[in-house]
């Protein structure tokens, strides 16, 4: 019985669909001071069933890019397509998980998970069963009747992920979903996300500023430049799956980490250096380019 419910989520998600293409993309915000280019000339893609991360210094336009894929923002130039179809607005085909959890406080855990299915007009008993199964996968079946208010951050975000997956989307977009969690919880959440991703064979676009997280989770990592953000590097992660926590100590992992770290550090310094020279503190910005201070950062 539960298997049936799971299958609906699996079949509607699977079928090798969910290719994201972002071509010649740029996006500017209109402000009083004129237009501010947040993302410039960017190309990325996610293959069906692939797990891709975007890392970059804060303010480089990661959320902007992700929100454009979700359909909340229109590109200034370029195009975003999913399975060849241009993205025109938000849709249940593209599930999204937010850093601020964004669960509906007036709905119980199960009602939150059922929301997307309810919007699709699925009948009550069917969606109840599907929600239970998915909550079970995330180890949350005991909390189905709780209000989000009473859950820990990790549990809330598990509900957020389950809710986004419950409509059987083609792709899952996550914007620093574990940024507000403590280190131990984050590790568990990464494991849970990996499990669900493998189970549902869905494409994932994952935004984070945590390099370890990006390497541990992804098949491929895009590294963005400081604002206006564009793709600085694309790094395949050839680590075999299933991945264990212990792999984070392997020389392969550490090598990837070192490479990404230096790319990001360069961009972070560029971003901060800009701010510091703005303040007229030239001397400090020169020192900042030195290795010792950069290490402190």
């Amino acid at each position: 019985m539960n298997q049936i419910a799971l299958n609906t989520a699996e079949t509607s998600a699977g079928k090798g669909k969910g290719r994201i293409d972002v071509r010649n993309f740029s996006l500017s915000y209109e402000t009083i001071d004129g237009s501010v280019e947040a993302v410039s000339d960017t190309q990325i893609h996610v293959n069906p069933g692939e797990f891709v991360s975007i890392v970059g210094p804060s303010g480089c336009g990661k959320s902007t890019l992700l929100n454009a894929v979700a359909g909340f923002l229109k590109p200034t130039t370029g195009i975003v397509t999913v399975d060849g179809e241009a993205v025109k607005g938000p849709s249940a085909d593209r599930g999204m998980v937010f850093q601020q959890y964004s669960l509906f406080p007036w709905k119980t855990v199960r009602e939150n998970v059922e929301f997307g299915m309810k919007m699709r007009g699925m009948d009550r008993s069917k969606r109840e069963r599907a929600a239970r199964t998915l909550l079970g996968l995330a180890g949350l079946e005991a909390f189905e009747k709780h209000y989000p208010d009473r859950l820990s951050g990790g549990m809330k975000q598990r509900v957020g992920i389950v809710r986004a997956l419950a409509t059987g989307p083609k792709v899952l977009l996550l914007d620093e979903p574990f940024g507000a969690l403590d280190a131990q919880t984050r590790v568990i959440m990464q494991q849970i996300l990996t499990n669900m991703w493998q189970r549902l064979k869905i494409s994932v676009l994952f935004v984070t500023h945590d390099i370890d997280e990006a390497i541990f989770l992804s098949d491929r990592v895009y590294c963005m430049t400081a604002r206006p953000g564009s793709i600085k590097a694309e790094i395949p992660i050839p680590l075999e799956r299933p991945r264990q926590q212990s792999m984070m100590m392997s020389s392969e992992f550490l090598g990837l980490r070192r490479g990404l770290m230096s790319l990001i550090r360069e961009e972070s310094l560029k971003a901060m250096g800009g701010e510091i020279t703005d303040l007229g503190m030239q001397g400090l910005s020169i020192e900042l380019n030195g290795q010792s201070l950069a290490d402190v950062l």
């Binding site: 979700a70 909340f72 607005g89 938000p90 849709s91 249940a92 593209r94 599930g95 999204m96 937010f98 601020q100 964004s102 509906f104 406080p105 007036w106 709905k107 929301f115 997307g116 919007m119 699709r120 209000y147 208010d149 809710r163 986004a164 409509t167």
Partner: protein, 308 residues
């Protein structure tokens, strides 16, 4: 061949079970029969535990009761000795006199008529205000154009106290009853509208985006996100509105009424029945308290996710 085997099989486990189950039963019974004192101790422990958990509440109740008693004693002494110290207590009825008039009033159907009529006016005026102001506030909060159209008018009318509407209301409505209900409506209308608007302006945009990502259309977002998200503020508006409704009602009844608890209080003054003044005031206070408790209870029922 097979049937005796089948017959024997279910019997044997039963025998085994009964032999193994019985001794523990006896063991379990013995302590409960022979020693009732642990049970008493358990109840005692439970009571102690309950006391510890509710200590603060008990203390608050005790202090509250004491302060009420102190108030009554002060009132009694001030009126008994007819204290004149800036304020004159010469004609103020004593608590006992008010109690006397209370015992008379509860046998007087006319008193109940006053109370019932006031309650009906509140019910009609307040309900109409809620039915108009809540949807209006929701729609105004959602659609900028409607907000731009309605808001200036609302802002001009809002500072006018409902009591100032009394002459206008008498002109507008054919009967006194209608004009009093209208005053009550006006009194509660603006607090409900303003708070609903406030609630709408505080709806977390991330929740709206989350709903969009899950396939919600405009109508569903309104029903499933904006409305429940604004509910706490709507209930704040209802509570405030209920208070203002009573204020407006009593004033209107005193000015233009023929019945109602406000009229009863004013009439008592005209007829020099001073204890009835205090009785009317206390009745008004209790009715106001009861109606705000009612709204609080409704809020809790409608919003089970709230912490309060």
């Amino acid at each position: 061949m097979s049937s005796p085997a089948l017959a024997r099989d279910p019997v044997e486990p039963n025998l085994v079970e009964s032999t193994t189950v019985v001794p523990p039963k006896i063991e379990a019974k013995q302590p409960t029969i022979t020693t009732p004192s642990p049970q008493g101790a358990a109840i005692g422990a439970l009571a102690a535990r309950w006391y510890r958990l509710n200590k603060d509440k008990l203390q608050a109740t005790l202090i509250g009761t004491l302060s009420l008693v102190a108030f009554l004693i002060a009132w009694h002494l001030l009126t008994k000795y007819r204290v004149v110290f800036f304020v004159r207590f010469t004609n103020v009825p004593s608590p006992l006199a008010v109690y006397d008039s209370f015992t008379r009033a509860i046998h007087d159907p006319k008193f109940f008529l006053h109370v019932a009529l006031s309650c009906r006016r509140i019910l009609v005026g307040f309900s109409l205000a809620a039915v108009v102001a809540i949807p209006l506030g929701l729609v105004m909060g959602r659609f900028k154009r409607i907000h731009e159209m309605v808001f200036p008018v609302a802002e001009v009318l809002r500072p006018i106290p409902a009591i100032a509407w009394v002459p206008m209301a008498i002109m507008l409505w054919p009967t006194n009853e209608q004009s009093i209900v209208f005053i009550t409506f006006l009194g509660s209308f603006f607090p409900i509208l303003v708070n609903t608007l406030h609630g709408m302006s505080l709806v977390d945009p991330v929740l709206v985006r989350a709903a969009r990502c899950l396939g919600a259309r405009e109508a569903s977002i309104f029903r499933e996100v904006y409305f429940p998200a604004s509910l706490p503020h709507i209930f704040t508006g209802l509570t405030v509105g209920m208070g203002v409704a009573w204020v407006s009602l009593i004033a209107a009844e005193m000015i233009s009424g023929q019945y109602g608890i406000g009229y009863f209080t004013w009439e008592a003054y005209s007829l020099v029945q001073y204890p009835d003044i205090a009785l009317g005031m206390i009745a008004i206070g209790l009715l106001g308290l009861a109606s705000s408790l009612l709204i609080r209870a409704m809020g809790r029922f409608v919003m089970p996710w709230g912490r309060t």
